[in-house]
């Protein structure tokens, strides 16, 4: 039997039965993980960012321990790699890439955008980040240094972007609505 040509649905059913029969995973655990995966989206990360912009204590927690900060927002992190959060400042702009494969903070951002896995993005992010940002129409003020974070091993990284000017007095819901997945990867910055 060639596993590549096997009917995927039949393979999944067989795999689920095997996991249950060997008492490795229960049906309830599988359902829980499926639900968590389906729920993961950039909206989760955006909620964390908006809260960090409005609550200094939460911002401190997020930068200290991203996993705990996600759990504090009821985002399931059990069994996921540790989450690290890097803050954009007036001096430093962070850009996340995985040159080896496609490591991505799926628990808080969902599935990666298509370009994240492309060879072009992965190669150029580490070699020509400024040219790459220009193609995303992202311009950084003079004097801002770029930290390209190559996510190669056991952590998953997300960016805490800078809160844009012109958002004073906004609610966390309003703030979360302007944060896009690219802002949390670092290819773009939030704007109003």
């Amino acid at each position: 039997m060639n596993i590549v040509e096997t009917d995927g649905e039949a393979l999944l059913v067989a795999m689920r039965k095997l996991l249950a029969r060997k008492n490795l995973v229960t049906a309830a655990e599988l359902a829980e993980r499926t639900a968590a995966t389906d729920k993961a989206s950039p909206g989760q990360g955006a909620r964390m960012v908006a809260r960090a912009w409005t609550e200094p204590e939460y911002r401190a927690l997020m930068l200290e321990d991203g996993t705990k900060a996600a759990e504090a927002m009821n985002i399931p992190m059990r069994g996921m790699p540790p989450l690290g959060v890097l803050e954009n400042t007036d001096a430093v702009h962070n850009l996340i890439v995985c040159t080896l494969c496609s490591c991505y903070p799926r628990a808080v951002l969902g599935y990666p955008p298509f370009w994240y896995k492309s060879a072009a993005y992965r190669a150029r992010a580490v070699r020509d980040p400024r040219g790459l940002l220009a193609e995303f129409r992202t311009t950084l003020p003079d004097g801002v240094r770029i930290h390209v974070v190559d996510s190669t091993a056991d952590y998953r990284w997300m960016v805490l972007p800078k809160r844009p000017i012109g958002t004073d007095g906004w609610s966390v819901e309003q703030l979360a609505a302007i944060v896009r997945e690219g802002d949390m990867v670092g290819v773009t910055v939030p704007s109003v």
């Binding site: 540790p82 580490v126 770029i146 190669t152 091993a153 056991d154």
Partner: protein, 93 residues
């Protein structure tokens, strides 16, 4: 944990992939290059063994920063690449 934040390190100029099947989390473009330890990221089972279902010892992981001009001829001195590197890939200069 053998290194501290601020330590200067060099990534081993080693190419195990030329000697047989391996799983490596150290990108090729860093090998032989000098960087600086930014932070310690905890101990984790060595993925080079995990990938082959071998017993995997706990290894210390570090965030190491490399100036762009150390890696690329056209790289800017003030931009950096920051990468997770396991201790067994790091040497003292």
């Amino acid at each position: 944990m053998n290194f501290s934040p601020g330590d200067r390190v060099i990534v081993k100029d080693d190419w195990p992939e030329t000697r047989g099947p391996v799983h490596i989390r150290t990108p090729h473009y860093l090998r032989g290059h000098a960087g600086r330890v930014l932070r310690y990221l905890g101990d984790h089972p060595n993925p080079e063994d995990l990938a082959f279902a071998r017993p995997a010892a706990q290894r210390s992981l570090y965030h190491v920063s490399f100036p762009m001009n150390e890696l690329w001829p056209e790289g800017r001195e003030d931009d950096e690449v920051v990468v997770e590197i396991y201790e067994h890939w790091l040497e003292q200069p």
